[in-house]
C-alpha cells in the first residue's frame, strides 16, 4: 500500500471513526483502525461490539493495500502533524506502516487486515429495504427520543430505540420503564416493506453527532438500510457509513402505555416551564427529585411547581397557563421533566394528566402536524 493524504482530511476522518474504536476489547484488532485503499480514496474503519463506522478520505493511491494500526497512536500522531501532505507506505512483510509528513517520520506496527471483522459497506444497490431521511429531521428525531432509553445494561431491550417503518411513516420509540418517548415523521417516499428493529441508543447518538460534524449539501439525505439478513442497520451519508448491530428482542407494546384521554390539560410556555422546573430541581435534588405539579383552572389558569427539601428549604413557582378540565396535582421526577422540556422545540407545550397516579403526557403545541411527538412520564408516589 502506498498512499498520500492531507493531514487535515486524515485527522477529520480519524476523529469520525475514532468514536467506534473499542476502548477495552479482548479482541486486540478492535483497538485498531482499518486503513484500506479504495479507488482514489482511503477508507478508514473502526468497530466495537456494537457499532462500526466507515469513513472515506480523498487520497492519492499509488499502490493498493490494507492494514490495521492502533487507533490511539495513529490519531495522536496525525493530530500532532502540520497541515501538510502525509505519505504512507506499508511494509507488507513486517505489517508496519511508514508515515512521513514534513519533518516527521514514523513506523507504526499493525495487525493484518484479514483479522479485522467484516463491516458491511454501502453499495449503490444493496437489495435490502431502505429509506431516505432528511438529515436534520433524523437528528431531531434521535435527539428527542434516544435520551429516554435506559442506561441499565441488565435490561438490554430498553437500552435500544425501537425504530419502525410503516409505509411513509418512520417512528422511533425509547423507554426506560419510567418514561417513554415516541417521535414519528413522514417520509418523502414510502418504504417498500414495513418492519421494526431495536437500535442501540448509543448508535443513534453517534449518528446524530456524525450528522452534525460532516458537511452536507442541500440535497444530501441519510440513507437508512435495513440489512435484514445480517441483522444490522446501516446509515449512509456522503463519505460516511455507520453500521449498528441490532438488539434482538421483542419491544413491549408501547402504545398501551400512552394514555388516550385526560382529565386536565395545561398549555404553557415551554421556556418558562423549563426554567421553573430547573429552579424546582435545585430544591428537589436532595429529595429524590420529586416536584409537585399543581394545575389550577381559572382565568388565567396556573401551573404551580412545589419542591421541598427537608434540609435545604422549599420553593414555589407559578406559571400562567391555559388549563382545561379539573384541578389536579401530581408528583414527578424533576430530571425527567427537564430532559423532555429541553428537547421540545415548539414555543408552547401541553401537559396532560388523568390522575395523580397515572402517567403524565407532554406534547409540543403548534409544531408541524406530520412530526408527531409524545412523551410520557410515570408519576412518583406523592409523599
Amino acid at each position: 500500500m502506498r498512499v498520500s493524504v492531507l493531514q487535515e482530511n486524515l485527522a477529520k476522518g480519524l476523529s469520525i471513526v475514532g468514536r467506534a474504536v473499542a476502548s477495552r476489547s479482548t479482541l486486540p484488532v478492535l483497538n485498531n483502525i482499518l486503513l484500506e485503499t479504495e479507488h482514489s480514496q482511503l477508507k478508514l474503519s473502526a468497530m466495537d461490539m456494537e457499532i462500526a463506522i466507515n469513513c472515506w478520505v480523498g487520497a492519492m493511491v499509488e499502490e493498493e493495500g490494507q492494514i490495521t494500526v492502533p487507533a490511539r497512536l495513529l490519531s495522536d500522531f496525525v493530530n500532532s502533524l502540520p497541515k501538510e501532505r502525509i505519505d504512507m507506505e506499508l511494509n507488507a512483510r513486517t505489517q508496519t506502516l511508514h508515515l512521513r509528513c514534513a519533518h516527521y517520520e514514523a513506523n507504526i506496527k499493525g495487525i493484518d487486515a484479514n483479522e479485522f471483522p467484516i463491516i458491511p459497506t454501502y453499495q449503490g444497490d444493496m437489495d435490502a429495504p431502505s429509506v431516505e431521511v432528511e438529515p436534520a429531521k433524523l437528528r431531531s428525531m434521535i435527539d428527542q427520543v434516544a435520551f429516554a432509553a435506559s442506561k441499565d445494561d441488565s435490561r438490554p431491550t430498553f437500552t435500544g430505540v425501537y425504530t419502525l417503518l410503516e409505509g411513509d411513516r418512520l417512528t422511533m420509540v425509547a423507554t426506560d420503564g419510567f418514561r417513554l418517548a415516541v417521535r414519528s415523521a413522514i417520509l418523502e417516499e414510502p418504504a417498500a416493506s414495513n418492519l421494526g428493529v431495536i437500535i442501540p441508543a448509543r448508535a443513534l447518538t453517534e449518528l446524530s453527532r456524525i450528522i452534525s460534524t460532516v458537511s452536507l449539501g442541500e440535497d444530501d439525505g441519510v440513507e437508512v438500510i435495513f440489512t435484514q439478513a445480517r441483522n444490522q442497520i446501516m446509515f449512509h451519508l456522503p463519505g460516511v457509513d455507520l453500521v449498528s448491530q441490532l438488539i434482538e428482542a421483542n419491544f413491549p407494546d408501547y402504545k398501551k402505555i400512552i394514555p388516550t384521554s385526560y382529565n386536565t390539560r395545561a398549555v404553557l410556555d415551554t421556556g418558562e416551564f423549563l426554567n421553573a422546573m430547573k429552579v424546582a430541581d435545585l430544591f428537589a435534588r436532595d429529595a429524590a427529585r420529586s416536584v409537585k405539579v399543581t394545575m389550577e383552572p381559572g382565568d388565567p389558569g396556573k401551573v404551580i411547581l412545589t419542591a421541598t427539601s427537608p434540609e435545604l428549604g422549599d420553593n414555589v413557582s407559578e406559571i400562567d397557563a391555559m388549563i382545561e378540565g379539573e384541578g389536579m396535582n401530581a408528583t414527578f421526577n424533576s430530571k425527567y421533566m427537564i430532559d423532555v422540556l429541553q428537547i421540545i422545540d415548539t414555543p408552547q407545550v401541553a401537559f396532560e394528566a388523568v390522575s395523580a397516579t397515572r402517567p403524565g403526557v407532554f406534547r409540543p403545541v403548534g409544531g408541524s402536524p406530520e412530526d408527531e411527538y409524545v412523551h410520557v412520564i410515570m408519576p412518583m408516589s406523592p409523599r
Binding site: I118, I247, E248
Partner: protein, 332 residues
C-alpha cells in the same frame, strides 16, 4: 497442514457426536454446561463447538464438523473471532460487571456469523449476584446467541443455572487416548507418552503442559523433591509445609502426583512388572523401596486417597493437609 484451522478435541467422542448431530440438524440448545475435572479439555471442546457453530461450510463427519478452512474457522482458531467471546474469572471471581457485559452483548446481533457464542469458564467462581444476573439471558437468549458455561465444580452452581442448561458431564480421558494424543500432536515415543499419560491421570491438558511447558515439568520435579524431604521433617516442619501447600490452587493434582509416586515405590518393592511412571527418579524410588516398610507406605497411600475425597467435599484444606502430612512415613 497449515491451512487446517480445526480446533482439535481429543477424547470425549460421545460429547463430540452429540454436539455434531445437534449442529447437523440445526438443533443446538441455547445454553450448555460443560462440567468435569480440571484440564480434561472442557474449554477446548467449548471453543471447538463455537468454531463449528460459526463455520461457513459445516459439513464434516470429523470432530464437530467444522471445515477448518473458512475465514470464520481461522479466526476461531486464532481466538480472534468477533462473535466468539471468552470470559474467565478476573482474579478470584467472575465479577458481576463481566456478566453484565455478557448480558448486554448477548442481546446484540452477531457481527459476521450466524451465531454469537459466549464461553464462560470456571463458572463456579461467579458469586450469587453474578450468577443471578445471567439467569434471564440464560433462560431466554436471542435466537442467535449460544452460551456455554464451563465448570469443574458444578455442585457449586445454583440449581437455577444448571436447570437452564444442557449438561454435558465430561470425564478424564482413558490413558490410551492421552497416549495417542501425545504421540499424534507432539510425536512422543510410546513409553514417554505413556508415562505422561499416567502422570496426568487422564487430564489431557495437564499432559500437554507437562510435555510442552518446561516450567510445569520443573515445578512437578520440585514438588517431588519436597515430598521426599518432608519424610525427614519434624511434625512442626510438616505443619509449616502443609500451610504452604494449602495455598496451592490445585491440591488434588498434587495428591495425585504423590499417589503415583508411592505407587511406583510399591511396584519396585514388590518387584512388579508394571510401568514406572517416575522413570527419571529410579534411584530415589529404589532407595525409598528399600528403607520404608510396605505397610507404612500403604497406610500413607490410603490417607492420601481419603484426603483427596475430603477435599472434594470442601473440608478445611489446611487441617486436612496437616493431618495428612503428619501421617507421612518417617525417615531419618
Amino acid at each position: 497442514m497449515t491451512d487446517d484451522f480445526r480446533i482439535r478435541v481429543y477424547g470425549h467422542a460421545w460429547a463430540q457426536d452429540l454436539l455434531r448431530r445437534a449442529l447437523q440438524h440445526g438443533a443446538t440448545r441455547h445454553a450448555y454446561l460443560f462440567a468435569g475435572p480440571e484440564h480434561i479439555g472442557k474449554t477446548t471442546l467449548a471453543r471447538a463447538f463455537a468454531q463449528a457453530l460459526t463455520c461457513e461450510n459445516l459439513a464434516g463427519e470429523d470432530g464437530l464438523g467444522a471445515c477448518g478452512r473458512c475465514r470464520s474457522c481461522r479466526l476461531a482458531a486464532e481466538g480472534m473471532h468477533p462473535d466468539h467471546r471468552l470470559f474467565a474469572p478476573a482474579g478470584n471471581q467472575l465479577r458481576i460487571d463481566q456478566i453484565r457485559e455478557v448480558v448486554r452483548e448477548a442481546a446484540l446481533s452477531p457481527v459476521e456469523s450466524r451465531y454469537k457464542v459466549f464461553i464462560i469458564t470456571e463458572f463456579e467462581r461467579a458469586n450469587v449476584n453474578a450468577a443471578n444476573a445471567l439467569l434471564k439471558t440464560l433462560e431466554e437468549p436471542s435466537a442467535t446467541t449460544r452460551i456455554i458455561l464451563v465448570s469443574h465444580q458444578p455442585s457449586g452452581l445454583l440449581d437455577t443455572i444448571i436447570s437452564r442448561c444442557q449438561l454435558l458431564r465430561m470425564r478424564p480421558l482413558p490413558e490410551s487416548e492421552v497416549v495417542r494424543a501425545l504421540q499424534e500432536r507432539l510425536g512422543l515415543e510410546e513409553p514417554d507418552a505413556r508415562r505422561l499419560a499416567r502422570l496426568s491421570n487422564g487430564r489431557i491438558g495437564r499432559a500437554f503442559s507437562l510435555a510442552e511447558d518446561p516450567e510445569s515439568w520443573q515445578s512437578y520435579n520440585q514438588r517431588i523433591q519436597e515430598m521426599q524431604a518432608i519424610l525427614a521433617y519434624s511434625p512442626a516442619q510438616r505443619i509449616a509445609y502443609a500451610q504452604a501447600l494449602e495455598k496451592h490452587k490445585q491440591l488434588e493434582i498434587i495428591l495425585q502426583e504423590w499417589l503415583l509416586w508411592w505407587r511406583d515405590v510399591l511396584v519396585i518393592q514388590n518387584r512388579g512388572q508394571a510401568l514406572i511412571v517416575n522413570q527419571d527418579h529410579l534411584d530415589a524410588l529404589t532407595d525409598l523401596a528399600r528403607s520404608i516398610p510396605g505397610p507404612q507406605i500403604r497406610r500413607f497411600v490410603d490417607a492420601i486417597m481419603t484426603t483427596a475425597a475430603y477435599l472434594r467435599k470442601n473440608v478445611n484444606r489446611q487441617l486436612a493437609m496437616e493431618a495428612l502430612l503428619l501421617k507421612a512415613p518417617h525417615r531419618e
